[in-house]
């Protein structure tokens, strides 16, 4: 079963972390990546740039309209995700709990099943 594990970030929370804590997050993600690659459960993971780099695009009367910034203004935003294919929901929750963000108050790790999938199969 495929799941997206989304990581919701709050920059204020991240900024308040010590350098050691930040390094521990990086190490935790590294260890998890290695594990998921070796188990054949990882399809992809991506980290997203700051929402200030977002552009919201709409088309009105055939004309493209672009506005800067995120669609939803919020303290938390989607900072990145893991796309995994694993045995069942229970295993997805187990993997999510290994994401270091899950252990930090103010950050959130969210697991959702994938309903449709195409592309990136020849990787």
């Amino acid at each position: 079963m495929k799941f997206v594990i989304g990581m919701h970030i709050n920059p204020a929370v991240l900024d308040a972390l010590t350098d050691e804590e930040k390094a521990a997050i990086g190490d935790g993600h590294g260890a998890l990546l290695t594990e998921l690659k070796e188990s054949g459960e990882l399809i992809a993971t991506q980290a997203l740039a700051d929402p200030s780099q977002s552009a919201v695009v709409s088309v009105s009367g055939g004309q493209r309209v672009v506005t800067d910034g995120p669609f939803v203004e919020a303290k938390e935003y989607l900072g990145g995700f893991y796309l995994i294919d694993c045995e069942d929901r229970e295993r997805a929750l187990e993997i999510a709990a290994k994401i270091p963000d899950a252990a930090i108050a103010g950050l959130a790790v969210e697991v959702r099943p994938v309903m449709f999938y195409d592309g990136a199969l020849e990787a």
């Binding site: 079963m1 495929k2 070796e38 399809i43 294919d85 099943p113 199969l121 020849e122």
Partner: protein, 394 residues
């Protein structure tokens, strides 16, 4: 996928040869490489020179030589050559090693996903790319998974001596059942359903008197007989009571019914045979109304007793509703609300919606169909449930 006669023959023989080789020498991964090389050699030579009189013996001899070469050249240090001796080409085992190989691939140390992948690779003869496509994962992801499964088997200390079939057979049947379901529920993966049937036929040929094997094969054939009727050309699901029964495959039904009848005459009555008997009852009926629902209900009742499972109770509720009315079905469902395995499950929601619709409570049915549509992770099912809800709204 279309394959040449030589390819078909190789697909049938390579798992047997792999089984023989591993049984003799262990070393699953090396044996697999050797058998692959022998199969490639055969695929190149046989179309030109003709298929040898004893193709299995030919493959076994060539694969054994490759294995010995490989061991001598690469791994002489960590493997005693004395363990390997060239096989006598005449010494082809009489037993079909496909079954032994299936037992190995469905090793209890592996998760179901790995058992399935390894079974399709080693026994089904599918390429890693084909398996990856079937499960919509990148090829290298699948390659890692298969290779890890082999390592896990090795670490678990699996001996290739045939385990007690009575012990391992249920795992094999479960894996074949899962492969079939993958193929049947996703219509672009029809190949997997055909592959599951092919492998189950092979097991049935080895164990013709096992009623659960016969039951599983019959269940697959009877279920597959409805394939053309269960979706519209646009891919929308058609429920059993609305299916055009003239589209059902009578040949598959005939074969499935024959298997069920023969197996029911025996002493054992297991879950697969019971499910096949239920499918046979449906296959036998001209319409939903003309279905022997009392028999369906009785069969579910036995199934519930020998293999208790909330999903079985859920299906029994549908049968109860047909026999005693929707209220009887709904009161059976009420007992499932506290079952954690089904809490919020879209099947529970959609069956309840269906029974409420039959009972005339259209408002509640409409809301539950929409609720169920949110709970499912299948796009086809979601479209179907939303369509049911729309039908009630108008």
């Amino acid at each position: 996928m279309t394959r040449s006669p030589v390819e078909d023959l190789l697909r049938e023989l390579t798992p047997q040869v792999l089984g023989s080789l591993v049984r003799r020498h262990g070393r699953f991964e090396d044996c697999e490489d050797a058998v692959q090389e022998a199969a490639v050699a055969a695929a190149l030579q046989w179309p030109a020179s003709g298929v040898p009189d004893n193709p299995r013996g030919w493959l076994l001899t060539v694969a054994s030589r490759r294995l010995i070469d490989q061991v001598r050249s690469d791994e002489a240090r960590r493997f005693r050559e004395s363990r390997l001796t060239a096989p006598d080409p005449v010494d082809v085992p009489a037993v079909d090693d496909t079954l032994t190989l299936l037992f190995l691939c469905c090793h209890p140390a592996l998760a179901h996903g790995s058992q399935i992948a390894l079974t399709l690779r080693a026994v089904g003869g599918l390429t890693t790319a084909e398996i990856a496509r079937a499960f919509l994962v990148p090829e290298n992801t699948m390659a890692v998974r298969i290779s890890r499964a082999k390592t896990q088997i090795k670490q678990a200390g699996a001996q290739f001596s045939a385990p007690d079939p009575a012990q391992r057979l249920p795992a094999v049947l479960h894996v074949l059942y899962l492969i079939f379901n993958e193929g049947y529920t996703a219509h672009h993966r029809a190949d997997l359903a055909a592959e599951a049937i092919r492998l189950t036929r092979a097991v049935h040929a080895q164990l013709p008197t096992d009623s659960e094997v016969a039951g599983l094969l019959a269940l697959m054939l009877l279920t597959n007989s409805r394939r053309a009727a269960r979706t519209t050309p646009a891919g929308d699901l058609v429920p059993l009571d609305e299916q055009d029964r003239t589209l059902w495959d009578r040949e598959l039904i005939g074969e499935g019914m024959g298997l069920v009848k023969a197996a029911l005459a025996g002493p054992a009555l297991g879950p697969y045979l019971l499910q096949a008997a239920i499918a046979a009852t449906h296959a036998d009926a001209p319409t939903t109304a003309g279905t022997d629902w009392r028999q369906v209900h009785a069969l579910y009742l036995i199934l519930e007793r020998i293999a208790p499972n909330p999903m079985v109770t859920l299906n029994r509720a549908i049968a109860v509703a047909e026999v005693d009315g929707p209220e009887a079905g709904l009161s059976l469902l009420a007992g499932l609300d506290t079952d954690k395995r089904l809490a919020g499950h879209h099947r529970l929601l959609s069956v309840r919606a269906h029974l409420l619709e039959k009972a005339g409570d259209l408002v509640a049915a409409h809301d539950l169909y929409r609720h169920a549509a949110k709970a499912t992770t299948s796009l086809a099912e979601q479209r179907y449930l939303l369509a049911r809800a729309r039908r009630l709204a108008s």
